[in-house]
Homo-oligomer: 466 residues x 2
C-alpha cells in the first residue's frame, strides 16, 4: 500500500512547532542532532526524522501536544530510550517525537499489594534500584535498560519471561493519551477484573499507534531467597532443546533458560572471556527457597544428563552470576566486536517449543549455505530466538543475501505455526509479514486503528497501514 | 441511555428463522421451553427470550448465522452452558441464541508444547477428563462446569487463579466469528508474540459483544507431583487477610487460597458436614514436588501462627481434598439449602489485597446493619470475593434493601481502587458501574464496539450501549 510522503504540509507543521515552543520553551528541540538521535534505532529500517522533539514532563503536556498535532494532522511518535529494534521510533512522515525520558518519577509503590505505578520514562534498572530496599523487584528484562513505557508499548519480554511472563502479563494498567487528546486510565489496581474490554492489553504492544502511554502500573515480585545460576553444554542442538522441553513439561519453575549456539558461545568467549566449550549451551537461573533452587537444579541436571548435557557449571557467587548474565546481555556488542567491519542486524522469531530444534538447525544450515555469519541466542523456554546476522553494508549483494535470509527465517517460523516476532515487535521492519501471519484478523487490526486514530497521526506507518 | 425494544421487526426475524431452519433442520428450535432455558441465568437480571436457538456444529455455521442476522439486524447471543451470573445470555432485544454446546470436540493436544485447541463448547471438566492420561491439566476452575468458550468470553477465573492466572493469561489464541461474518484466528501457537494488536485479549472478556468465540487454544500444565490441601481457622478477619498478604508477598506459590467468613463456614458445615469452627477460615492448596509442597505448607503454617491462625488441618487423602473443594464449589447450593424460602444473588468485587480485610469487614457490617444474610467467600490471593446475598422476592422492601446493598458493595470496592467485578463479568447487571470505574476509558470501549459491530447485533445490551 502506498504511503503519503507526509501527512501535514510545511506551514502547518511550522505553526505546530511554534505553538509547542511557546508551551515547552527549551524543552522543544529542532536541532538536527536531536532529531537525528530520535529518528533512528540500531536497525536497517529507513530513517525518518521528526520535525521536532518535545521533552515532556506530564501526561497533560502529552495530551496538549496530541491535540495540537491532531489539528494539523501532524504525526506524534513516542520515544523512550530508543532501544527498540524494528524502526518503531522513526518518523517516516515527519511529526513530533514525544521524548518521555524526563517523565521519570516513580509515583507509587504498594509493597503489600506487590504493585507500583511509574511514569513512562522510568527505566527498568532505575525502578529496580529504587525498589532494592523493599525486597521487591520487577523481573522483565529485555537486555537494554529500556523505559517501562517503551517496554509496555512494544510488549517486551526477555530472559525472565519463561517464569514471570512478558509485559502482557505484568502491566496491571496504563495511563494513555488517545488520538483525540483524551487521557484514559485503562484499569484500576485490582489484580484482576472482568469489567469490560481489556484496554490494557490492547495498548500493550500497540507501539504508539493507538495511544501514547504516559504511566504504567506494574506487578512486582519478592526478591527470591535463593538464586542459583549456571551453564550446561550439550552434545547437540536437539539434546539442548529436548532438555528445555522436558524442563518446562515437568513444571520446573526455571527463571531463565537461554540457549546459545556454537557461534554465539565463540563470540561470547571472545568478548566476555567466558572460556566455555564451543557447543550448544544453556545458561540457566533458578529462583526460590534455598531448598527449592537446590531441588530444581538437581532435577535439571538429571534431565540434562539424559539429553547429552555435560556437567552443570555453577555460578555460585553473585559476581559470577552477574558476569554470566552480563555476557548474555552483551551478545549484540560482542558480535559487533567479533566482526568489526560489518553491520549487525538483530532479528527474532518465536515457534512452538516442540519445533525449536528444527527451526534453529534449519536456520544454521541456511546461514552456512549462504556464507553468512549469524550467532543464535534464544529465550528457549518460550520458543523465542534471535539471530544476529552480519552484513557488509558496502556490498549490495551481501545486503540482498541477508535480507533474503531474514525473509526465509520468518517464513520458516510461520510455517511452524510460529510468529514473525516474539518480542522485538513489528515497527516498520515486520509489517510485510502480518498478512501471512494473521490473515483475516489483520483487517480487524486495521479496523481498530481506523476507529481509534481516524486521522492516522499516532506513530503512522508502523504495524498497519490504513 | 434508552435502548430500542427490538432491533429487528417481526417479519424479517421470521425470514431469518425460516432460513436458519432450512440450514439447520431440527438443530433450530423455537420451542418456548428451549428459548426460556437459553434466555436466563441464575440472576435477577431481566429475562429476554431469544426468538430461536441454533445448535451449531461448526465455525462456518456460526459465520453463516451471523451473516444472515446481520442482513436483518437481528441480534446473536452466544450460549455455552448458561452458568454466567450477570445476564450475559439473555436476549433483551430478541434474536438468535447460538448454542455452542454441540461444538464439543477436542481438536489438538500438543503435550510437548503444553497446549491444546478445543471447540468452544468443550467444558473444563470434559477437557480435564480427556487430558488425564497425558499427565497434563487445565487449571482454571470457576466452580461450574462451564464451557471453555464461555469461560474465555467472560474472562473467567476461580480458585486456582492466584497461581495459574485467569483466562486472560491462559488463552493462547481464539477462532472467532466477527460481526460481518468474517472468521479470524487471533494468534498462532507460539507462546508469545509481539506481532500486532492483541486480538486474543480483546475478545477474552468481551462477552460475545465483539465476536462469537468458536475455538479456544489453551495453555496446559503438568499435573503436580504432589498436591497438599488443608484448612486453617483464624481469630479474626484481619488476621486471615494479613496471613494471605504475607503468603503472597513471600512468593509462596500457593495454588488456592480461599477465605470463608463465619457465615459461610456455618452454611458449608450445614450442607457439606465439614464440622469446622465458625471462624474466618482459609482453605488452601499447594502444588509442587513432595519436598516443595511440604516446604510451602510449613512456611504458611508459620505465617498463620503469627496472625492468630490455629493448627493447619490437612486433607491428606484425595477423597478428603475432593470433599473440601466440593464443599467450596457448592457454596451457592449450600446457601440456597440453608435459606430455603429466599432467592440467592451471587455478586463479586475485587480490591487490592491490602484493602481486602477492610472491604470484607465493612461489607459484613453493612449486611448486619440492614438485616441481610450474605455469606462471604473469596479468592483472596487476588483480592476477589463473593457475597451470596439472600432475598425474599415476595417482599419489595427487601428487594430494595438488597439492591441498595449490592450498589454500596460496588461503590466500596471502587473507592478502594478496586473493580465492580473480579470474575463474574458485566453482562447486564454491572453496566451501570462502568462509567464510575472507567471514566474516559468507557468511551474508548464504546468506540471499539461501534467499530467492530456497527449494527450492534453482537449480544447487544451487554457491557456497553452504543
Amino acid at each position: 500500500m502506498a504511503e503519503p510522503a507526509r501527512l501535514s504540509d510545511a506551514s502547518s507543521t511550522q505553526r505546530v512547532v511554534e505553538r509547542l515552543r511557546a508551551m515547552l520553551g527549551e524543552r522543544l528541540s529542532t536541532a538536527p542532532a536531536v532529531r537525528e538521535q530520535h529518528g533512528h534505532d540500531q536497525t536497517w529500517n529507513e530513517l525518518g526524522l521528526p520535525d521536532a522533539v518535545a521533552f515532556v514532563q506530564s501526561t497533560e503536556e502529552v495530551a496538549e501536544i496530541v491535540r495540537l498535532c491532531g489539528e494539523a494532522s501532524l504525526p506524534v511518535i513516542p520515544f523512550g530510550t530508543g532501544t527498540s529494534l524494528e524502526g518503531h521510533v522513526s518518523a517516516p512522515f515527519g511529526g513530533i517525537s514525544i521524548d518521555l525520558s524526563r517523565m521519570d518519577q516513580i509515583l507509587e509503590v504498594h509493597t503489600e499489594d506487590l504493585d507500583c505505578r511509574v511514569q513512562a520514562g522510568v527505566t527498568r534498572k532505575a525502578l529496580n534500584a529504587y525498589l532494592h530496599d523493599t525486597g521487591l523487584f520487577f523481573p522483565i528484562d529485555p537486555g537494554a535498560d529500556a523505559s517501562l513505557g517503551g517496554m509496555a508499548a512494544t510488549r517486551a519480554s526477555g530472559t525472565n519471561a519463561v517464569r514471570y511472563g512478558t509485559m502482557r502479563e505484568n502491566v496491571l494498567g496504563l495511563t494513555a493519551v488517545m488520538a483525540d487528546g483524551r487521557i484514559i486510565r485503562t484499569a484500576r489496581r485490582a489484580r484482576k477484573s472482568s469489567a469490560g474490554y481489556d484496554l490494557t492489553r490492547l495498548l500493550v504492544g500497540s507501539e504508539g499507534t493507538l495511544g501514547v502511554i504516559t504511566e504504567v502500573s506494574l506487578k512486582l515480585y519478592g526478591i527470591p531467597e535463593s538464586i542459583a545460576a549456571g551453564v550446561c553444554a550439550f552434545d547437540s542442538m536437539e539434546g539442548a532443546c529436548n532438555a528445555v522441553i522436558q524442563t518446562i513439561q515437568l513444571g520446573i519453575p526455571v527463571a531463565r533458560i537461554e540457549l546459545l549456539d556454537e557461534a554465539q558461545v565463540r563470540v561470547c568467549n571472545a568478548y566476555s572471556n567466558l572460556g566455555l566449550a564451543e557447543r550448544p549451551t544453556l545458561f540457566l537461573e533458578f529462583h526460590g527457597t534455598t531448598a527449592g533452587t537446590a531441588e530444581q537444579s538437581e532435577m535439571f541436571a538429571a534431565i540434562a544428563a539424559e539429553h547429552g548435557g555435560g556437567a552443570f557449571a555453577w555460578a555460585t557467587h553473585q559476581e559470577d552470576r552477574n558476569r554470566l548474565w552480563q555476557a548474555r546481555h552483551d551478545v549484540f556488542w560482542a558480535g559487533r566486536a567479533y566482526v568489526p567491519g560489518k553491520s549487525a542486524l538483530a532479528t527474532d522469531v518465536c515457534v512452538p517449543i516442540s519445533r525449536l530444534a528444527d527451526c534453529v538447525i534449519q536456520t544454521q544450515q541456511d546461514l552456512a549455505e549462504h556464507g553468512l555469519f549469524g550467532p543464535i541466542v534464544g529465550h528457549v523456554g518460550d520458543g523465542n530466538f534471535h539471530v544476529l546476522v552480519f552484513c557488509d553494508m558496502g556490498d549490495p549483494e551481501e545486503i540482498k543475501t541477508v535480507k533474503a535470509f531474514c525473509d526465509r527465517l520468518v517464513k520458516r517460523a510461520l510455517a511452524m505455526d510460529g510468529t514473525c516476532t516474539g518480542e522485538h515487535g513489528v515497527g516498520r521492519g515486520k509489517m510485510r509479514y502480518l498478512e501471512a501471519e494473521h490473515g483475516a484478523a489483520l483487517e480487524v487490526m486495521r479496523t481498530l486503528k481506523r476507529a481509534l486514530d481516524p486521522q492516522n497521526i499516532m506513530n503512522p506507518g508502523k504495524i498497519v497501514t490504513i
